[in-house]
């Protein structure tokens, strides 16, 4: 943490990558003069169409590619340095896994690369398999998995070291809506616990939901950067959401609006297709339909889901853990309303040196970003740097969870 006093998890300085052809002649400028700054405990989204340089940036941060010019500082050091990479979890664009290993062996292999001892590995693997809904398929070779199932194992391997920084390349690609929802919940929950997450995606709806801040890339250049709320807020419209109103009340509102010279439109709010889909699948699970796919717990509401994810992560990061108990399985395997409290505990029974326990209540507020110096228009930046939405969202979610518990 020399260069930035620990303020930034990732910082790049004029990072440039030019791909050359076989003769060494420059051909494609994949990343151009990138000055990226990702603060600690931020969820940062790299958005852009295919070929805009998202993956190339991630690969340079991780040392898989050497920059043509400039440099990148990750967690205060070089991403290739084992001391730094021990604190990083990485999910590549496709889950490049060994098809001949089964799910458990795969996670055990990656756990060993982090030097975790076999007891810690075992408990973390159990918890992670449970979390990604593949506990029942632990002994099946990865080669027989569907793309989405492999993706879940990919995600599990990225979490096995309880990383400080998660780098996720297209985290939701190939996942079904339930998996997608879960990953989004997980990202939010991890961020709440002080982790930094850098993700690349072209699925804008997913990014919109989880990111505090996004950079939109095109042709290797950052076109826009800023917090999601600031970028997307429509300053010319107002939206009012209420319970169903009587005709009389509606008429009154119409009159007020028209008097003010505004336009007025009334329609019932649409449910999101995602939540509709999740409802249907949950009902099928409750009807005990058998499935050979991943088994996800489907909590009914956002609050329940958040609570469930929070429980899982609690166990991953708690410094002190109760002795491990056998994970209870609900009668119907496919339906699990609340995850067991000890899953995450098992994951963190023996925190490694690199693993810093994160105290839940002490989550630092995202500090206000100073305006960026280089590359980007200042007036635009000034608009972009008022982060408050994310922390507010989190607080709301916490509140809801508390209420649920009290009930």
């Amino acid at each position: 943490m020399t260069e930035n006093n620990g303020q930034f998890a990732i910082e790049t300085f004029s990072l440039t990558k030019i791909f050359a052809d076989w003769w060494g002649r420059s051909r494609v400028v994949a990343v151009d003069n990138l000055n990226l700054k990702v603060r600690n405990n931020q969820v940062f989204g790299l958005l852009g169409p295919n070929g805009s340089g998202k993956t190339t940036i991630l690969k340079m941060l991780l040392g898989l590619l050497h920059p043509t010019r400039g440099r990148a500082v990750v967690l205060g050091g070089d991403g290739k340095d084992p001391k730094i990479s021990a604190q990083i979890g990485f999910l590549p664009e496709e889950s490049y896994l060994y098809s001949y290993l089964n799910a458990r062996e795969t996670l055990d292999f990656y756990g060993s690369l982090f030097g975790l001892n076999s007891r810690v590995r075992k408990s973390r693997i159990d918890a992670l398999l449970d979390m990604v809904g593949l506990a029942g398929m632990a002994n099946r070779p990865i080669g027989t998995f569907s793309k989405g199932m492999a993706r879940r194992i990919g995600l599990a391997q990225a979490l096995i070291n309880d990383p400080k920084l998660l780098i996720l390349d297209e985290p939701t690609s190939g996942l079904d809506p339930i998996g997608t929802r879960q990953i989004k919940d997980l990202i939010v929950e991890l961020a709440r616990r002080g982790k930094t997450i850098l993700l690349s995606s072209h699925l804008l709806a997913d990014a919109e939901e989880v990111c505090d801040r996004v950079a939109i890339l095109y042709g290797g250049l950052v076109q826009r950067e800023g917090s999601v709320e600031e970028l997307l807020e429509r300053k010319d419209k107002t939206q009012i959401t209420t319970n169903i109103l009587t005709d009389r009340a509606m008429e009154q509102i119409r009159r007020i609006v028209e008097k003010d010279g505004g336009e007025f439109e009334v329609k019932p709010p649409m449910q999101k297709l995602e939540s509709f889909f999740i409802d249907i699948v949950r009902q099928a699970q409750q009807a005990k339909r058998p499935t050979s796919g991943a088994m996800n717990r489907l909590e009914a509401t956002d609050a329940e889901r958040a609570a469930a994810m929070s429980n899982v992560l609690d166990k991953l990061v708690a410094a002190k853990i109760e002795p491990s108990e056998k994970t209870e399985q609900a009668e119907v395997e496919t339906v699990k309303i609340r995850p067991d409290d000890d899953i995450l505990g098992k994951l963190t029974q023996e925190p490694q040196q690199i693993t810093e326990p994160v105290v839940r209540e002490k989550k630092p507020e995202t500090p206000e970003l100073p305006p960026q110096q280089d590359g980007i228009k200042k007036d635009l930046l000034n608009e972009l740097v008022k982060p408050k939405g994310f922390t507010e969202r989190i607080k709301k979610k916490d509140k809801k969870t508390e209420e649920k518990k009290n009930e």
């Binding site: 590619l65 084992p82 590549p92 001949y100 062996e105 292999f109 990656y110 690369l113 030097g115």
Partner: protein, 457 residues
């Protein structure tokens, strides 16, 4: 180290679950017992066992080398090609640990397979005499000439002596004025040296050839020592038989006329066919206490022919200096060291080459090893004119190549029941270890600098 071990375990599992390994294992499991039944050799039980062990060890060494080459070239290049390497090198593992782990995984596979198959060969070899109910003389002969490990003594030509002799002859010629001015001194000396060398291994009618050896250490003085020879004659009699007497013992006792004979000198009058390998034995107590032994061949005048022992394979003394089991273990360990070398070669090459090219290069090295002597010979011949380049560029490269032929043909040692001497064993193993280490270090350096996710547009 735990990381290296994790990678090793993974690449071992990969190889075991790869069909290639299974195919090679099945091939050996089926072929070895069949070989033990079908090999006939020269018809005797010794010939059968010799041909079995020759094919068995040869086949095992060959197939395992090929398997090692394929697996070691595959394990890293496939990770790079299928991009699993992305999730591995981004973990806290150093690149050299990855290379080391990959190599170790292949070595583990080799250890397992070699252990299994050499045990099968060993067990079948020991069982063959029992299965064929070999008894009596044949069994004794088998135990003396096959189930043993004999050290071999070959005449060591002392160039100093040859030089002195040639010089002497040259002066003689000079004095008698027989030198022709048209020929250079060098050419004449060369011819004289050849004559001197030749004369040391040939006997005119009524003449003698004497071979002297030092540091002869038989395993047990109650054993026998074996004299193996092959000669040619300037005039071959109709029945091709040559008469001669062999004396084996401490020749110094006669030469310097000691008062009392300390060790016996054995005389063996024989009649042997020319141009075929012959062998006879005398008690090992013929060897003097200080390890000196002399063998003398006396050419009977009635042959009326000069007897010549070819320099290559004309004369050899063998004596038991170890046992079959130990010799077999040493042979297996040398094969193992070769497999380690190929594992290091394959992994090292695939740090910068794709699978097909790496396999091709490794196979080229393998087959070069098989005809190493030929290659060295031809390079030495070519290199005479470009000696500096040869010495500093070609020679080190050739040194890096493994050597499986001539003196390094391991199954030949077992077939001939020749002891794999401790010095030879240590030098061979150390040589291969050094070569493997050099290859691995080269691999470390290349791989550490490699841009793993490099895209060429």
């Amino acid at each position: 180290m735990s990381r290296v071990w994790a990678v090793a375990k993974n690449s071992f599992v990969s190889a075991m679950r790869m069909k290639t390994a299974i195919v090679f294992m099945l091939l050996l499991i089926i072929l070895l017992p069949i070989l033990s039944i079908t090999s006939t050799g020269d018809g005797t039980i010794k010939g059968r066992i010799q041909s079995f062990i020759s094919y068995g060890l040869g086949l095992t060494g060959f197939l395992l080398s090929i398997l090692t080459i394929i697996v070691s070239c595959y394990t890293l290049s496939s990770d790079i090609k299928h991009k699993q390497i992305y999730t591995v090198v981004t973990k806290p593992i150093r690149r050299f640990e990855l290379i080391l782990g990959k190599t170790l995984g292949v070595v583990l596979l080799d250890t397992l397979l070699l252990l299994v198959f050499s045990s099968i060969i060993y067990a079948l070899t020991l069982q063959m005499p029992r299965l064929t109910k070999t008894k009596g003389d044949e069994l004794v002969r088998l135990n003396n000439e096959f189930f043993t490990a004999r050290a071999s003594l070959k005449p060591d030509i002392d160039e100093q002596v040859i030089e002195t002799k040639a010089q002497k002859s040259y002066k003689e010629l000079q004095r008698s004025g027989q030198l022709n001015d048209s020929r250079s001194k060098q050419a004449v000396m060369q011819e004289l040296k050849d004559i001197a060398r030749y004369s040391m291994h040939s006997a005119e009618p009524g003449g003698m050839v004497i071979w002297e050896f030092k540091n002869v250490k038989p395993f047990d003085s109650n054993d026998n020592i074996f004299v193996r020879f092959k000669f040619e004659a300037s005039r071959i009699p109709p029945d091709k038989n040559i008469y001669g007497v062999w004396y084996v013992g401490d020749y110094r006792q006669i030469k310097y006329g000691q008062e009392k004979m300390k060790t016996p000198i054995y005389a063996a009058p024989r009649k042997d066919v020319v141009k075929t390998v012959q062998e006879f034995q005398v008690p090992a107590n013929a060897v003097a206490a200080d390890g000196y032994l002399a063998v003398v061949f006396y050419n009977e005048p009635m042959n009326d022919s000069t007897i010549i022992f070819p320099q290559e394979d004309g004369f050899e003394v063998l004596y038991r200096a170890g046992n079959f089991g130990l010799n077999f273990v040493r042979a297996t360990l040398i094969i193992f060291a070769r497999l380690v070398f190929f594992a290091a070669l394959g992994v090292s090459l695939s740090t910068w080459l794709g699978f097909p090219v790496a396999v091709m290069c490794s196979l080229a090295v393998f087959f070069t090893g098989v005809i190493n002597g030929f290659i060295i010979g031809s390079f030495a011949y070519l290199g005479e004119n470009v000696s500096l380049f040869y010495k500093y560029a070609v020679e080190p490269m050739i040194w890096l190549l493994p050597k499986f032929d001539q003196g390094c043909n391991i199954s030949k040692y077992i077939i001939d029941a020749k002891l794999i001497g401790t010095a030879f064993f240590a030098v061979t193993i150390a040589g291969l270890a050094v070569k493997s280490a050099i290859l691995l270090v080269a691999g470390f350096i290349i791989f550490a600098r490699r841009e793993i996710a490099k895209v060429i547009v």
